[in-house]
């Protein structure tokens, strides 16, 4: 039974993600910029892993592998951040409360180590989840 921690996930823009989407979402740079989860140092300790380890992030709505990096915009213990994009959107809460707006911010997730699992490129991640491409 691998160790996992529970965090409150938010997603949003970063300047690196902005540059990457304009540079081409098919490129590895996009994965480097948005296929990550920014966690607080204290949460790394709780999870007991080093920075830059691949982790599996799971919510009631899905599961995705991203790279865990230490947040540069903290401290924010208990809060995790995945830049807006296919990785975050694989697991965020789609409930709109009949307002039209999904709940991109404030999804309870569990994070567990997945050191050897690959992080997919943005376009292929979506294609696989949509069944137009097989892994």
């Amino acid at each position: 039974m691998t160790k996992n921690i529970s965090l409150n996930l938010i997603s949003g823009r970063t300047i690196q993600q902005g540059v990457a989407i304009e540079g081409g979402k098919e490129k590895p740079l996009y994965r480097t910029a948005a296929g990550i989860i920014e966690m607080d140092e204290s949460d790394f300790k709780k999870l007991g892993v080093w920075k830059n380890t691949n982790v599996r992030v799971t919510s009631p709505y899905g599961s995705v592998v991203v790279k865990a990096i230490e947040t540069s915009q903290g401290p924010h213990p208990g809060v995790a951040f995945i830049p807006m994009g296919p990785w975050a959107n694989s697991i965020i809460d789609p409930n709109t409360y009949s307002t039209g707006m999904p709940t991109f911010k404030g999804t309870p997730v569990t994070v567990e180590v997945a050191a050897n699992e690959p992080i997919l490129l943005g376009i292929e991640l979506v294609q696989i989840l949509c069944g137009v491409k097989t892994a």
């Binding site: 540059v19 707006m101 999904p102 979506v126």
Partner: protein
């Protein structure tokens, strides 16, 4: 030899910087250098020059491969799809110009479609709030010239609107703000210590999802009423301190972003923030403004509104316009299984919608009009590459404060490529024939 084009408008974010300088080759075919833009804007201009760019429409084949087709074949597929669909959705419009949006509206009217823009996943809830309680606002030059109290609530311009702070909100020296940053107090409300928060005089590190409570507490503090010791993770003394700072200014502004529009509370967060702004106008002058994302999402809302009466989430299926987010809004239409065809233009739902709202797109007739390869083009049946708006074609667009600015064309698109508007006009004319025949 090269030539320099000045006063170029950056087609990335709602800040719509219009002081960009672009150096192009003499024949106007190659873009060589971009000055004054932020890193994202610079990348946007330069990427149009990439050698691996797709220049012709492609059909997704059953085996997963792509087959290049002509624009005319792409027009035929698109027109047929819209003519046959019972409830087509035409989504996006935020990274294209108002001229293309206008043609799109004609098509939507003919095919009795649902049409929506990217407010669906950014400031749609702000629009709902504005419809409930109004919006005391101003243009960005007013901030530059008068503002001495700046709040960034749930937004992070250091990352999302890189030049906003230097052009309008924090650093510039305006008519009544000769000391620039020295003449302003900055309050940032964010659950993270963002790079914007690091510059703040006061950072309220709100408990994520409790912005509504914190905003209500501010209103209570204005009135000097009783407050709990801690609200949304903030001690009441700190809330009262912030309230006094806001009341004591001469001209203040609340900029807000996804942090409030997408968190629990949604439109009510904005609603209460607008109420805070109204309250402050009893003590001083205060405004509030959404930090719009896509460079022309605002324009899409304006064109929808003067042509159909509603700023987004417009449903034309009954032959007249209707509007009610929750019913006519894109995410709900997709996740509820309401639509049977999808046209995407000037946006990337594949990357920016929850996956449960993307899956249906992959299972219906779909067209993605986009100069880039994107997750949306990756799951659509037809991908139509077009010229880059604001780079290879001009056209009008609206800044986050609703100020219209006419974009400039700086280089020629690759040989034979169509613009959004040109492609849509062909679709419209073909659709007219099909409807006439029917």
């Amino acid at each position: 030899m090269t030539k320099t084009i000045t006063d170029v408008v950056c087609p990335f974010c709602g800040t719509l910087c219009d002081d960009i300088e672009v150096i192009v080759s003499d024949d106007g075919k190659k873009l060589i250098e971009v000055d004054n833009a932020c890193v994202i804007g610079t990348e946007k201009f330069l990427h149009s020059q990439s050698s691996d760019r797709i220049t012709r429409p492609r059909m997704h084949q059953d085996d997963g491969s792509w087959k290049e087709i002509s624009y005319d074949e792409a027009v035929e597929y698109t027109a047929q799809m819209l003519a046959k669909a019972k409830k087509p959705l035409m989504f996006g419009w935020s990274s294209t110009n108002c001229e293309a949006q206008s043609v799109g509206n004609e098509i939507a009217e003919m095919s009795r479609a649902c049409c929506d823009n990217t407010a669906a996943t950014c400031h749609g809830t702000s629009l709902i709030a504005i419809q409930d309680v109004g919006l005391p606002s101003c243009t960005l030059g007013e901030i530059k010239n008068r503002a001495d109290r700046i709040i960034f609530w749930g937004c992070n311009p250091a990352h999302a609107h890189p030049r906003h702070m230097s052009r309008y909100s924090i650093f510039p020296r305006g008519f009544f703000t000769g000391k620039g940053q020295m003449s302003r107090k900055l309050i940032v409300v964010d659950p993270r210590v963002t790079d914007t928060a690091k510059m703040a005089d006061i950072h309220l590190q709100v408990e994520q999802g409790q912005d509504y409570e914190l905003l209500d507490a501010l209103r209570v503090a204005f009135k000097g009423e009783w407050l709990p010791d801690v609200v949304a993770g903030i001690p009441s003394e700190k809330i009262r301190e912030a309230a006094d700072v806001l009341k004591s200014g001469r001209f203040g502004i609340i900029f807000f972003g996804m942090g409030v529009t997408q968190s629990l509370g949604k439109n009510h967060n904005i609603d209460e923030a607008i109420a805070v702004t109204k309250d402050l106008n009893e003590y001083t002058k205060f405004s509030i403004m959404p930090m719009r994302g896509h460079y022309n999402v605002t324009g899409s809302g304006e064109v929808f509104a003067w042509q159909f009466g509603f700023p987004y989430a417009v449903d034309l299926t009954r032959g007249f316009a209707r509007y009610n987010p929750g019913d006519t809004s894109t995410i709900d239409l997709l996740t509820r299984g309401e639509i049977d065809a999808m046209l995407t233009i000037g946006s990337d739902p594949g990357a920016h919608f929850p996956i449960s709202a993307v899956k249906p797109i992959a299972n219906m007739p779909s067209v993605c009009i986009d100069p880039h390869l994107t997750p949306t083009s990756g799951v659509s049946k037809l991908h139509v590459p077009v010229a880059f708006n604001g780079v290879e074609t001009g056209g009008n667009c609206y800044r986050m404060d609703n100020v219209p600015i006419d974009c400039r064309k700086v280089v020629e698109p690759p040989e034979g490529m169509l613009t959004d508007e040109e492609f849509l006009i062909k679709v419209r004319d073909r659709l007219k024939q099909l409807k006439g025949a029917a």
